[in-house]
Symmetry: C2
Subunit: 331 residues, 2 copies
């Protein structure tokens, strides 16, 4: 059954949940023409949602924490969409089962939407697909969009960091502080959470973390923009809802920081997000061209490859011509 | 001290070893203008070398195997360059120490050149840098260029597979066959080596491997191009030089296969390599544009980002314009 994207976009505008879910599937499937159509239509309708990134190593209790934050935000009347990004799963089937389990707590609430997302179909992976899914949820009118992702690699961390406020979750006794420093996860945190704070070692983890933050601040070069923001460290026991109010308070304080000075920091973020979107789409266009070629139909690349093989053109000159041709392209 | 690339290229043409080494450093450093200059000049001078990829999990004895193959090729009068690609090292300092140790066995021999390469400076990583280093070694006149890389990830496997003949090395007792299937390493092998064949389990590994190859052949779809080439499995004990003659014989048989039917398969490979080079360079051009932007000087991207922030342009339209601008660009 072919997808009628126009009908889905109209359905989204009418607030239909089914249209929203199917548009996210369109994003996941990654058909270039459909993605382009969705983004072109929805992009002017975005910008109202607050985007929250939550990341951390496996086992720190991210999904419990996310659910607790979502529940708290609902309690103060905000609508919340959760995008649980699973880079390890090529298909979202398994993750969807998880969604259903997680939805139990919110099943009667139209103000909460939880969705897992895998990266099938995307050459550029999650860094390409996630921002487009966030656009859909933003355009759908949610007050808050929470992007939850495992902080295990550079691109996963980047996905969570491409938010207004990024929460990095740690837990005691997992060697987290050292791992965090390795993954560059410390630099992206606006707020730290030490979850499972009732376990032994929470105090030790917090002091290690403070030490690393001070070290990072002290070693920042003169050229580095040293932010006026020091990420607070909040202790939670998410399974019992402990510390979650303190966490949402910290999120509000960070939002106020973004809005200070006439919103200078927020403008910087909006701009960084725009640049990120342009970059990932441009890279995807280049990758797509090669997929088409491998399938045997790309006359421009075919001709360029011939010339490189004959050595009448060097690969740099060919890449220049390909990039030129991409603009007028049908991709 | 600024690098005089013209002088290095002239030195390379005169066969100067120092110029070769410094050109490889230029490739490693990844300054865009210099890379472009080197490739533009050298590319028409390449195509004579036989490129051999050797990959495998850590601990299978790749470098010992590589050295044994290089020694054997020297014994029959061929000149050999070895490029040991180390994705785990951001700097080549440590690897260079290893080079010196490895050079001991060949220290008086001008027909052997061994160099480690790290990926510093390259946004596109080894998939971008390695083919350019191979061009330098090819243009320098080596009969054989061996690219040795750890087969631990998709891009590392791709680096080794971007060769005339790809050797996948395994060793008994490391759970290798299962790991190999995961990494897509089986598909790229033209020749398999079971190194450390004097250890227990070599027979078991070989029969597992044969089973997987037959399974792969049987499950290939009708659309898949089922190659006429069945990769031979050669057993070696590289530390004692055992089986190395059989391995170099297998390399020759594969080279003959490439040349059969008027060189149809070799032409396909040359073309695949050209396409790979164009793609990686095109992707690098896009990434570079964003690095320049982050450093504060890219008027085109600056203007596009402004328009996306104002929502007068959607990110797809901006990406199109960026790709258009890249061709006329100064990158």
């Amino acid at each position: 059954m072919p997808v009628d994207v126009d009908a889905l976009l109209a359905g989204l505008e009418r607030g239909e949940r089914r249209a929203l879910a199917r548009l996210l599937t369109v994003i996941e499937d990654g058909r270039p023409d459909q993605l382009r159509q969705v983004v072109k239509y929805l992009y002017p309708r975005t910008g109202a949602a607050r985007v929250l990134g939550i990341t951390g190593s496996p086992g720190v209790g991210k999904s419990t924490l996310t659910d607790a934050v979502a529940t708290r935000l609902r309690a103060v009347g905000r609508t919340v969409a959760v995008l649980a990004v699973d880079p390890s799963s090529p298909f979202s089937g398994g993750a969807l089962l998880g969604d259903r389990v997680r939805m139990q707590g919110h099943h009667a609430d139209h103000g909460v939407f939880i969705r897992s997302m895998a990266s099938r179909g995307h050459l550029g992976g999650l860094a390409f697909a996630t921002p487009q899914a966030v656009m859909v949820l933003d355009a759908a009118g949610f007050d808050d969009v929470i992007v939850e992702t495992v902080g295990v690699g550079q691109s996963e961390v980047e996905v969570a960091a491409n938010a207004d406020t990024t929460v990095v979750a740690l837990a005691p006794g997992m060697g987290d502080s050292v791992q965090a420093a390795k993954a560059g996860i410390l630099e992206v945190a606006d707020v730290f959470v030490i979850n499972k704070a009732d376990h032994g070692g929470a105090g030790k983890l917090e002091s290690e973390l403070r030490g690393m933050l001070e070290l990072g601040h002290a070693t920042a070069g003169e050229d580095d923009e040293v932010s006026a923001w020091w990420p607070p460290i909040v202790r939670t026991v998410a399974v019992r809802g402990e510390g979650v109010d303190e966490l949402t308070d910290a999120l509000t304080v960070h939002a106020d920081h973004l809005d200070a000075d006439g919103g200078r920091e927020r403008q910087r973020q909006v701009r960084a997000r725009a640049v990120h979107a342009i970059r990932e789409i441009a890279l995807e266009q280049v990758r797509l061209r090669f997929v088409r070629f491998e399938r045997g139909h790309d006359p421009v690349l075919d001709e360029l490859a011939d010339q490189v093989v004959e050595r009448s053109l060097d690969p740099y000159a060919a890449a220049d011509r390909l990039l030129d041709a991409l603009e007028g392209g049908e991709a």
